[in-house]
Each structure stands twice: as structure tokens, then as C-alpha cells.
């Protein structure tokens, strides 16, 4: 009986967890919108509205609302970018990176990524982990 319960619980748990894992796996290692002028344009518009207050108009972290990451130097690859935008980042202070996953469509996050990638400077890496695929 106990074993049956455990199996049932495991099945429910995996059913709950599986979709999110599947979703994470669905994010391609390289942004499919990279270099697409139309997507980049739309990505800039979104970036200005939701990201630039903290990350600045140049994405250099010099936002009107305070210190944030210099996204021109993003070197953790596209998947990590999407994961961070969706899940946010706890800085340990009041000024945290909010989780945008429940707010922005994945397509919009990809568009933002395509735009930010165009601002890359030395040290940036949007293909981190691609070689291991």
C-alpha cells in the first residue's frame, strides 16, 4: 500500500515537474531570432520598456533606476539568458531582477535577446554551451 502510494506520488510529481523541464529543454541553445532585423527592432522596443529602466538605454547597466548587470558583456549563453529573464535574479537586496516569465511571452524574450546580442562587446558569449550540444 505504502509502495503504491509512493509510486502514485512519484507519478504526480513527475507529471508536475516534467512540463517545466520539457519547456527548459525547448529553449534552443542559439537564439533562432538572432540577426533577424524585424525581431531585433521589436526586441529593442520591449527592451526599452521593461529592461532599460535598470539596465540602461545602452544595456550597460547604467539605468535611471540603479545598478544592474552590463548586458553587453553577457557571456552565459542564450539558454541562461532566457532562464534569467523568466526566473529573475535574487540579489539579496530590495532591488532584485524581477521574474518576467509569467508576464512576457517567450517570443518577446527571444526578441529582447536578439536585440541585446547586437550590443555585445568583448567578452560576451551568446553561444556558451553550444559546442557541448
Amino acid at each position: 500500500m505504502q509502495v503504491a502510494l509512493c509510486i502514485a506520488a512519484a507519478a504526480i510529481a513527475s507529471a508536475l515537474i516534467a512540463p517545466s523541464l520539457a519547456s527548459a529543454d525547448e529553449v534552443p541553445p542559439v537564439n533562432p531570432m538572432s540577426g533577424d532585423a524585424k525581431m531585433i527592432r521589436e526586441g529593442k522596443s520591449w527592451f526599452v520598456n521593461v529592461c532599460s529602466p535598470c539596465h540602461g538605454g545602452r544595456a550597460d547597466g547604467a539605468g535611471e533606476r540603479g545598478t544592474a548587470a552590463d548586458l553587453r558583456k553577457w557571456n552565459k549563453g542564450f539558454r541562461k539568458f532566457v532562464a534569467t529573464v523568466k526566473g529573475g535574479k535574487d540579489t539579496g537586496r530590495a532591488m532584485t531582477m524581477p521574474a518576467w516569465g509569467g508576464v512576457l511571452d517567450e517570443k518577446v524574450i527571444f526578441q529582447i535577446g536578439a536585440y541585446v546580442e547586437t550590443l555585445a562587446i568583448e567578452g560576451a558569449n551568446w553561444k556558451e554551451g553550444v559546442a557541448q550540444q
Partner: protein, 564 residues
């Protein structure tokens, strides 16, 4: 005993009593209207020092001849998780300081915590840009036996200043807190960072946080006994008021104009005079495209405190296309026999208005570089403003940036020197517009800026003619946290990088300096306790604005008491 000696003894006793009174005893007990009306001496009862917002103390024990002997008397860490923007208060032996929705009462002699009051924000607190303001508080008020505290979620807390227990906590209908818009359909709300002001019979409650989705700014007058609303003043003109038609119909409801910083009060005119923040959204396409004045936003507004009716509004940046909000505290100074509103602001100019009528007198430049206009005409209208950027096009370079000039970091006025002391900067920006995105009922900015950094400066400016008297320039960008000046001919401030200083108010000569190693985002205060004059400076947050790599300081949180 010799009669003359007895007389001398009595005189000595009298002098001792007077001195004791000066040292604080006569200022103890419940705060009454006379105490509120006085310039600060033994106590510091308003965030801005006095109703006229001078941040000037009559104390002289610390002065130009002994400021070099300053020493740290105590250090207190409030464990802040964001910028320390609060100018503390001092009364009855206690320093009152707010940080992260907590209020601390500290022993004025040694910084020991006497009590701590804590307010918890709701679990669904949050939303667009809200982390930017969470935990920041710029002022407290004290009246009777209560300290009045406005928490981020627009609740007014009356806290007994002896015990730290709440006398009442008041929410205000129509002023919801912002919610995480991933979870809430109705997500926009008022996130409050400004402090209240105590005037006879009323606590002024500014509702400032209008940038978190788009809301209109208000100032409430409430009953000190229970928080009941006495009146409600709209910063943006309502139907029938002059200026209503300077907004496209309907745009007023999300138009911003939050009264961002505690204003000043004229007891003769019975007016509360406040600066207001930017018009919303930042991209002006839905509110006249910069062609309509948007009166009430980026304005100075005078509220009649007997009935809450707005006496006048002066718009300093018509149509506000640059996020040049002008929320800086308007100081009240008698110039040539006329009660004058004097407001240095983000435009790079000091604006002078007739306090009674709001009529424009003049605007004198103080920033090194001003390119957005060529000046103000005789009616207070900008001359030859540069062309606005096109939506989706290239950004346009203007000076100052939306950081100012001077920003929200408080300035001071010394009636003895006749000087204003400005916490200024000289940054410029490239400013551009994009389409405005709306999620839930949250309207986003539709605008962005790219800063062009220049150095922090502290300026002394003749209040009457706007001429520069002295200038201290730092080697890095930023501004001082705020200015304090005293009858001891001193100015106190901490630089953006946390260099706490006492300088000669007449010359700017640095008399004392201590590197505290963390960010300054608030103004210092001074008070007298047990016969000693103290200066208190709160510090904390992250040095610089954005990722300014010129600074090596890490995040900090500390309150320091100085004496000699």
C-alpha cells in the same frame, strides 16, 4: 552669606537652567505647534529642518573654528537592503530613522536602539519597477506624541515616540499598493517613498509613487489623531480647473505628477507648496506629444491647507518630454520683502516664483551645461527647446540628463550667508522614444536614456541673484546625499562616494572629512543633546547610478553620529 554672592549664585543657577533648557529639556515632551514652527536648534522636527525647507540649524557649538575636531560618536547599522534616503528626526533624546519599512528610535548620545517598529508589506507586493523603491523612505514627521511614517504601501503609521507602539495605522481609499502584474489583473498602485509633514492640525500625506504603471499624484491632509482624510488635492487639474485642457481627455488618470519629495509650508499663506514628478508615460505621444503643457506634472503646486484646493500650479517643463520632473523641495525665502519660492531642479535652473500667486519671477542657470533650452522667457516658458526624438529613431542629446542639475537629494539655505547649497551633478543624456508597451493595466515608459557622465559638484549660490559663490568638484560622477547648513557657518554633506565633510559655508573650505566608504543618498541633521552638538548622517545603498565603474565601493548600510 554675602548678598551679592547669593545673587551671583542665583544668576548661575538661572544660567544653568537656561543652558539645560537649550540642551534639550525645554524641547522635551509632546511636539506642539510652536515647536513645529521654529527653526531647528536642539531638536530636528522636520525632514527639511523647518517648514520653509532650509535645512538650516541655529546651533553654533560646532563652527568653523572647531569642526576639524569632529569625531565619530556612534555607529548604527539598520541592515538596509536598499538606499538609505531617510533624513532622520531628533526629539526628546531620540533619533528617528526609517529604512526598509522599519522605524528605529536611537539614543541620541550613543546610537543604541531604544525601539524598533516594523511593518510587513503584503505577499503580493511588487510589480513593474517596484523593487527600485521598496524600502526607501525619505522622511518622517513628528507631532504630539507620535512619529508619523508612510510605508511603501501607502499606509500612514502613527507611532508613539516613547514606546514605538502604533497609535493607529491608516489605509486610504483609492490608493492601492502595486501588485505583481504576473499575478494581478489590477496591478498598478502607489508605491510611496516620500515623507509626511506636520503642520498645525494636519499631517500632510503626499501620494508620490505614480510611475509604476501610470497613476495621478495627490496630496492628502489628514487628522493627526486618527488619520481621517480632511482633504485631497489633485496635482493634475480636474475638470473646471485651469490647466485641465492641457491634457488629452482621459490621459489625466494615468498622468503621473507624483509629489515625490516633501514640500514646504507657509504658515501665513497656509499653503503647502510641492514640486511634482514627471508626466506619464515618459514617451509623451498619448498626452499631447510634448505640444500640450500637461500642467500639474513637472510643476510646482500650491495647496491651500484649509480646504485642499489648489491655489496655483506652475509648469516648469511644459509637456515634460525629457523626464525632467521637478519634484525638488521648493524652499521659501523672503527676497526683497517678497515671500519667494526658490527651487533648484533638474532643468539646470533655479526657479523663482511669487509664493502667494505662483507668478514666475526668474530662472537662473546653475548647471555647467544646459542645452535642452536657451533659457526661460518672462512668463516662465522655455525658450527654443530642442526638437524631440522620433519614436523608434535615434536618441537626442540633451544636458542636463534626467538626473539633473539637482535631483531629489536635498539642498539647503543659510539665512546668515544668504547662500543656497546645492547637491548637484552635470551629467547629460541621449534620450529616445519607443512604442509604449502595456501589460495588465501597467503602462510602461516608452522611453530610454543613455547617460553621459560628468562630475559631482557641491555648489554655493547666492540665493538672491543665483550667482555662484563657491564650488567643490569631485573627480567622479554622482551627487552629495544632501546638504545641511548651520549658524556656525558650516555646511555638512557626504559625497556620493561617502566622504562625510564639514566645510566653511562662506568659502567651501573643507574643514573635516571622513571616508565612510559607502553611498550617500540622504541629508545630514544636527541636534543638541546633553550639552553636545551632534551631526547624524545616514549612508547606504550602492554608490553611483547604474553601473558606474568609477566607484569601487560595495553596498553598505550605516547611520553615523558625529560630535567633538
Amino acid at each position: 552669606m554675602d548678598r551679592r554672592f547669593k545673587k551671583l549664585q542665583l544668576r548661575g543657577l538661572f544660567a544653568a537652567l537656561v543652558l539645560a533648557g537649550y540642551a534639550g529639556l525645554s524641547h522635551a515632551g509632546p511636539v506642539n505647534d510652536q515647536m513645529l514652527a521654529a527653526d531647528p536648534g536642539a531638536s530636528w522636527l522636520h525632514a527639511n529642518g523647518n517648514w520653509a525647507a532650509h535645512r538650516y540649524s541655529t546651533l553654533t557649538q560646532l563652527n568653523v573654528s572647531n569642526a576639524k575636531d569632529l569625531k565619530v560618536a556612534w555607529v548604527f547599522s539598520p541592515g538596509g537592503k536598499t538606499d538609505a534616503q531617510n533624513t532622520p528626526l531628533f526629539h526628546d533624546g531620540l533619533v528617528f530613522f526609517a529604512q526598509d519599512n522599519k522605524v528605529f528610535a536611537l539614543d541620541g548620545a550613543n546610537g543604541t536602539v531604544v525601539w524598533k517598529y516594523e511593518h510587513k508589506l503584503a505577499d503580493d507586493w511588487g510589480g513593474y519597477n517596484v523593487p527600485f523603491v521598496t524600502g526607501k523612505h525619505r522622511g518622517l514627521a513628528i507631532y504630539g506624541e507620535n512619529v508619523y511614517f508612510l510605508s511603501n504601501d501607502a499606509k500612514l503609521h502613527a507611532i508613539n515616540y516613547h514606546t514605538g507602539k502604533a497609535t493607529f495605522v491608516k489605509s486610504f481609499e483609492g490608493f492601492p499598493a502595486p501588485k505583481d502584474f504576473a499575478k494581478a489583473k489590477d496591478a498598478t498602485g502607489y508605491a510611496i517613498t516620500v515623507g509626511p509633514l506636520a503642520i498645525p492640525g494636519t499631517i500632510i500625506v503626499p501620494m508620490n509613487g505614480t510611475d509604476f504603471g501610470g497613476l495621478p499624484g495627490y496630496v492628502l491632509g489628514v487628522d493627526p489623531a486618527n488619520g481621517n482624510v480632511q482633504w485631497k488635492a489633485n496635482m493634475i487639474p480636474g475638470k473646471g480647473e485651469p490647466g485641465y485642457d492641457t491634457w488629452p481627455e482621459g490621459s489625466q488618470q494615468y498622468g503621473g505628477a507624483g509629489p515625490w519629495i516633501t514640500g514646504s509650508y507657509d504658515p501665513d499663506l497656509k499653503m503647502y507648496i510641492t514640486g511634482t514628478a514627471n508626466a506619464y508615460e515618459w514617451n509623451p505621444k498619448n498626452r499631447g506629444g510634448g505640444e500640450m503643457d500637461n500642467v500639474g506634472a513637472a510643476s510646482i503646486v500650491a495647496v491651500n491647507t484649509t480646504d485642499g484646493k489648489v491655489a496655483w500650479r506652475y509648469v516648469g517643463v511644459p509637456g515634460d518630454p525629457w523626464d525632467y520632473d521637478i519634484p525638488q523641495t521648493p524652499m521659501l525665502i523672503n527676497i526683497d520683502g517678497k515671500q519667494t519660492v526658490v527651487q533648484p531642479n533638474k532643468t539646470g535652473y533655479i526657479h523663482y516664483l511669487d509664493a502667494k500667486t505662483g507668478k514666475f519671477i526668474k530662472a537662473t542657470p546653475f548647471a555647467d551645461k544646459i542645452t535642452w533650452i536657451k533659457g526661460y522667457d518672462a512668463n516662465g516658458r522655455p525658450i527654443d527647446m530642442v526638437a524631440l526624438p522620433k519614436e523608434g529613431g535615434d536618441p537626442v542629446e540633451v544636458w542636463p540628463s534626467l538626473l539633473g542639475g539637482v535631483n531629489m537629494y536635498p539642498n539647503a539655505y543659510n539665512p546668515k550667508t544668504g547662500n543656497l547649497y546645492l547637491a548637484a551633478t552635470n551629467a547629460g543624456m541621449k534620450y529616445g522614444f519607443e512604442d509604449i508597451k502595456i501589460i495588465s493595466n501597467v503602462r510602461h515608459f516608452g522611453a530610454y536614456q543613455e547617460f553621459i557622465w560628468a562630475n559631482e559638484v557641491q555648489l554655493a549660490v547666492n540665493a538672491k541673484n543665483g550667482n555662484q559663490v563657491w564650488r567643490n568638484e569631485e573627480s567622479k560622477p554622482g551627487y552629495a546625499g544632501g546638504m545641511l547648513t548651520t549658524a556656525g557657518n558650516l555646511v555638512f554633506y557626504a559625497t556620493q562616494g561617502g566622504e562625510f565633510r564639514a566645510v566653511n559655508a562662506s568659502t567651501g573650505e573643507i574643514l573635516y572629512s571622513l571616508n565612510t566608504g559607502t553611498a550617500a543618498k540622504s541629508g545630514p541633521i544636527t541636534y543638541m543633546y546633553n550639552g553636545k552638538q551632534y551631526v547624524v548622517q545616514a549612508l547606504g545603498g550602492t554608490t553611483g547610478f547604474g553601473r558606474d565603474e568609477a566607484w569601487n565601493n560595495e553596498f553598505g548600510s550605516v547611520v553615523i553620529g558625529f560630535t567633538r
